[in-house]
């Protein structure tokens, strides 16, 4: 062989072997995909180490982004490619149906029986509404979220209100009275801040406005119904709060997402706020203008309805492609145990999916509003549990946002919206 042929051969061999070295084989660890803020992921890391210590199973973390869509994309990639890892992962409650419908989630009941865990240890309504698909248990709640009404205790007291309003009529009266007076001192003061920008949060807010015993969007025999009297009433109220009542700010439908809402309330410029439970800890933190002045209550409702909170939060699932399902479930069981869940509550201020944690004395000490949370989680409404929910929500958000900005009347909007939803549902139903 001459020099040329030799070098050609060697280069080829090196390249090929480099290529094969690059692909690592899967190993014996259980891999858990979690995302969130750095502090949260760091805490998960600690919990994973604990889990390894307690169960003898090596639990490795995959750090996911915070953005919900990106987390979903990340998991969809792995699951669609039928990868054995991650074995277990957290899912936003809104994607469980997509994952379950795609047959990516292992039914958990057999494992529950083996470990003698009962699903009654968790919030019953949550597990029933969100964690079942085709009558099979396919996920369990790790972190439960629901819409809450935050209010200014000091202002209500100052104007002679003993407790936060329960119906929308009372709410509007109260907010109008106080806002008008407060505005004389503070031009930026508003009555009620909530999530009205065109994104997922808007759908959640709408479901709460429309909340009653029945969810606002009904999918009966695979045909979505949104054009109902109650929904029109709710959407009209949402618009009215901005204009003519002038209780909610004009930028509600352009800017208001969780953080904008939280900051508006936290800077002392709002009487009421609709937000998820995470805002509590931040409102009570150093430097907050509403520290110690914040109260939490159930969201108001129409006279003939009842208070509703849209169910949010993260649920844990077991991949159907996992090669070590038994071990993986042992980890799930550990992560959902009362002990670990209590740590999440104390360290991160999370709301666990187990009611028993809310009775714990240490937890009650740092979460004085735990009893209200518990009540909220028994009043949850779910977003439609269909695999194509994300497509539906995009349509709903668009119409609702148009209603909020006054571009279209609620009833006209819902007629068109329903048509589009039915179109989607027709497309994605078997």
């Amino acid at each position: 062989m001459n020099l040329f042929e030799k070098s050609f051969l060697y280069i080829t061999i090196t390249l090929l072997s480099l290529l094969t070295v690059c692909s690592k084989p899967d190993n014996k660890r259980i891999v858990l995909a979690v995302g969130g803020a750095p502090s949260e992921v760091e805490f998960w890391e600690k919990i994973a180490a604990q889990c390894t210590e307690q169960t003898g199973i090596e639990l490795q973390l995959i750090r996911q982004p915070t953005d919900t869509d990106q987390r979903r994309q990340n998991l969809v990639t792995a699951l669609r490619a039928k990868k054995a890892t991650p074995d277990i992962f957290l899912m936003d409650v809104a994607w469980i149906a997509q994952f379950a419908g795609s047959n990516w989630l292992e039914p958990l009941q057999p494992f529950m029986d083996k470990h003698t865990i009962s699903d009654t240890s968790f919030f019953e309504s949550v597990v029933k509404q969100a964690d079942h698909y085709d009558n099979k248990l396919i996920a369990l709640p790790v972190y439960v979220d629901g819409g809450l009404l935050y209010y200014r205790k000091d202002l209500l007291k100052k104007y002679g209100y003993e407790k936060p309003p329960e119906t929308w009529n009372e709410f509007i009266d109260c907010a109008k009275t106080i806002t008008e007076k407060e505005r004389q001192k503070n031009k930026n003061f508003v009555g009620y801040v909530w999530q009205g920008a065109q994104y997922e949060g808007l759908t959640c807010n709408f479901l709460e406005f429309a909340g009653s015993d029945k969810p606002g969007i009904v999918i009966d025999s695979s045909s979505p119904i949104i054009h109902t009297k109650r929904n029109i009433e709710a959407a009209t109220l949402m618009r009215d709060l901005i204009e003519p009542y002038n209780i909610s700010p004009q930028n509600t439908y352009t800017d208001m997402k969780e953080e904008e809402v939280r900051i508006a309330f936290q800077s002392g410029n709002a009487l009421f706020e609709r937000n998820w439970p995470y805002a509590w800890k931040l409102h009570q933190s150093e430097g907050s203008a509403v520290k110690g002045l914040t109260g939490v209550a159930l969201l108001p409702h129409f006279k003939d309805g009842r208070s509703a909170s849209t169910l949010g939060g993260w649920h844990i699932g077991l991949s159907r492609f996992s090669k070590q399902k038994d071990k993986a479930f042992t980890c799930i069981a550990y992560l959902l145990s009362s002990e670990v869940q209590k740590q999440f509550t104390i360290q991160l201020g999370w709301n666990p999916g187990r009611p028993d944690v809310y009775n714990d004395s240490t937890v009650l000490q740092i979460m004085q509003h735990a009893p209200i949370l518990k009540e909220v989680f028994n009043h949850t409404v779910v977003r439609p549990v269909v695999p194509y929910y994300s497509y539906m929500s995009a349509v709903i958000q668009r119409y609702l946002n148009a209603v909020l900005s006054g571009k279209i009347e609620a009833s006209a909007a819902f007629i068109d919206c329903e048509k589009e939803l039915q179109e989607i549902s027709r497309r994605y139903s078997k």
Partner: protein, 299 residues
């Protein structure tokens, strides 16, 4: 460009198919396997119902029919077209200006040429993140400058029009240098003597620009224009980082929308969108080939 025109007969061996196969084989194999086959696969997928949570079946062109009813598609088409219509002319305009600067004889010539490569070399994702920070409402550079001039802060990424211009500016930062480099090549091939002659004749700076530079540069400008249009058509990275298509879907580019459908599990419809983008790009690239002065005797 000049070398292309030379006759190449003297350099070429006769047709020797074993060697041609051997030399071209690996490349063609890779291109077929990893680009051509996926594109064909995408076209096939677009005629199927291919959704992770449903059984697959062949549906013919019904995915394409859906496109016409789809408001999200129309919205993203509108965004993509406005993006092209605004960004490409601006890129060419500023790119031309920059290339004149780069071609101007001065002691800064070397520095300028290195400098313009920086935005081009920085990964789009990173420049996206830098601009995301610049547009930050509270501590971003953009609002800081605006406030220095006494204007109100702008919610750059939170409003539809703000987000649109935010994307345009960030895109200009990255692409003007590229356009300038291409145009520079055209500029430097214009013979110096033409300018000298014009100067002797007393032609002003602008006059020289209009009667010499622009006409001679036209073919290069056309190529740059088509190139940039194709690139702008498939914009993804910057939108993904800066707005992820928001607020309210107002900045969702076609690529971004297709990606969203892939993530949502609807591969069939996502592929349909991809085929549409592909067809637009194909038409444009045929134009590139036509205007790029390709000729049979080129090689």
């Amino acid at each position: 460009m000049t070398s292309l025109k030379r006759s190449q007969d003297s350099r070429q061996y006769s047709y020797d198919w074993p060697w041609v196969t051997l030399l071209l084989g690996p490349g063609l194999f890779l291109l077929c396997l990893l680009i051509l086959i996926p594109v064909i696969g995408t076209i096939i997928t677009s005629t199927n119902r291919d959704i992770t949570f449903m059984d697959g079946k062949w549906v013919g062109l019904s995915n394409y029919a859906e496109l016409f009813k789809d408001t999200a598609f129309r919205q993203s088409l509108r965004f993509t077209i406005s993006f092209i219509a605004v960004s490409v002319p601006l890129e060419l305009l500023f790119g031309l200006g920059l290339s004149l600067l780069m071609n101007y004889k001065s002691s800064f010539r070397g520095i300028i040429r290195s400098l313009v490569l920086i935005p081009w070399a920085i990964p789009a994702v990173i420049s996206g993140r830098i601009w995301e920070l610049i547009y930050n409402v509270n501590y971003g550079l953009a609002n800081y400058i605006i406030e220095q001039f006494g204007f109100e802060k702008i919610n750059w990424l939170g409003t539809s029009s703000g987000a649109f211009w935010a994307i345009i500016i960030a895109d200009l930062w990255k692409t003007i240098p590229f356009v300038a480099i291409i145009l520079l090549a055209g500029l430097s091939s214009i013979p110096e003597t033409l300018y000298q002659q014009a100067q002797i004749d007393g032609a002003s700076f602008f006059r020289r620009f209009y009667s010499i530079t622009l006409p001679l540069l036209r073919p290069v400008i056309v190529v740059a224009l088509l190139f940039r249009t194709i690139d702008a058509l498939r914009i993804f990275d910057l939108v993904f980082i800066l707005t992820s298509g928001g607020p309210g879907g107002s900045t969702t580019s076609l690529s971004q929308l297709g990606f969203k459908y892939f993530v949502g599990g609807d591969f069939g419809y996502g592929s349909t969108l991809s085929v549409i983008i592909f067809l637009c790009a194909l038409v444009l690239s045929l134009l590139v080939i036509k205007f790029g002065k390709f000729s049979q005797e080129a090689i």
